[in-house]
Amino acid sequence: MVWEWFRWLAETKGINLTIFYDDWDRGRFFAGVWTTIHLSTICIILSILIGILGAWLQKSRFRIVRGLVQAYIQFFRNTPPLVQIYFFYFAVDALLSDYMGISGGILGSYGWAVISLSFFAGAFNAEIFRAGIEAVPESTIESAESLGYTNAQIYRYVTLPLAFRVCLPALNGNLINLVKSTTIAYAIAVPETLYVSNQIWSDELNVTEMMYVMWLTYLLLVGALVWVMHRWEKSIRVPGFGRR
């Protein structure tokens, strides 16, 4: 078995990668990586939805709605994500469970990590989408108007497709940041990659090896996201638009 080669590597060279030859460590490490993957995926989807909704509500006719969206964006952009995740996990959870009369908290650490990270990245996404929508020239919209398009049709067939192309590079950057930020779920004991790695290096005392393992793991995870996003960016690129 290929795993046994790593046992030989540890015994003869002193490079102790227990995550390959030890069944228990391998199990918890890959469970951790899997947690990072689904935590990231859920947060990416939710943060994009929050971003689209936020960008739309920023254009609301009602001042109070615009004010609330602005407050949300400022709150989440201008506080550290670690503080946010603690705040949700300890303060908001306690407040809500008291209020609802539920003992032992209403959501687990995973649930609060999803909410906290999605709102964190969503605040940036809202600003990114807003900038994209504002970059669509008024004259292009007017020409659609003069062809008889309704406002909803203009939004769907003209504004959004163009806005999306404008903001995709910025969105990429934010989503990459989001995947990296899932490591702060460590702080509330979500068993993601960093958390399980810490357990492993505490038990096995292979700190150096685990640093390399984590470094490579995140490089691969983020690399995969970057690759997918670039493919996508390329597939919707049109000549003479966005890049000169």
Binding site: T140, E145, S146, Y149, L162, V238, G240, F241
Partner: protein, 251 residues
Amino acid sequence: MSAAKWTTDMPIVSLRDVHKAYGAYEVLKGISMDVMMGEVICIIGPSGSGKSTLIRCINALNDIQSGSIKVEGQEVNDPKLDKLALRKKVGMVFQQYNLFPHKTALQNVMMAPIKVLKQPRDEVEKRARMLLKKVRLEGKENAYPGELSGGQQQRVAIARSLAMNPQVMLFDEVTAALDPETVKEVLTTIKDLAADGMTCILVTHEMAFAREVANTIYFTDRGIIVEHGPPDTFFANARDPRTREFLSQIL
């Protein structure tokens, strides 16, 4: 609405005492004008005289403060205006082409008839290819606007407008952003249209072109129509000193 009463011997576009202001700044100070079916009207005048605003009011891209604009007898200055019905009748081409950059030339032409008029795709595609041929862009169907020259983009924009089968075409300084060499190809396209009997209202700085194709020239200055008349008399014997001064500067 009185649309039913309109007959072809009445003006297809009729403006009466149109006033339009941006805030306190009055751009149009009582414009009246009648355009008959099949006529070609050129509006000329110095920058800021309200030419573009005037034609943008005809398809309700700009609203007006007072007065009346009728297209086929339908009042445009009406809060209950059916904008879709109006814009089906009135096509518009802009100075900056304003094509949809994420769609090919063919898709640009096909989109509105399919999405807005809900016409069947096959039929629309056939017509769109024919229109692109008509504006001499055969072979450019699959090019994106970014791959076309300004003149070519402008001709796609004309085809896109024609795909809606309008009764009236508005041209807002459509050659102003073009190279001198490409101006001609766009003007030729418009000339063909006029020869086919399309009612055209153009804002233009191309005096030679105006002289050649227009039935009537309107000269605007500071929000009013200073004078109008057939091109021969207009260019040879302008009565108003402001018209004469303008013509002496550009001719």
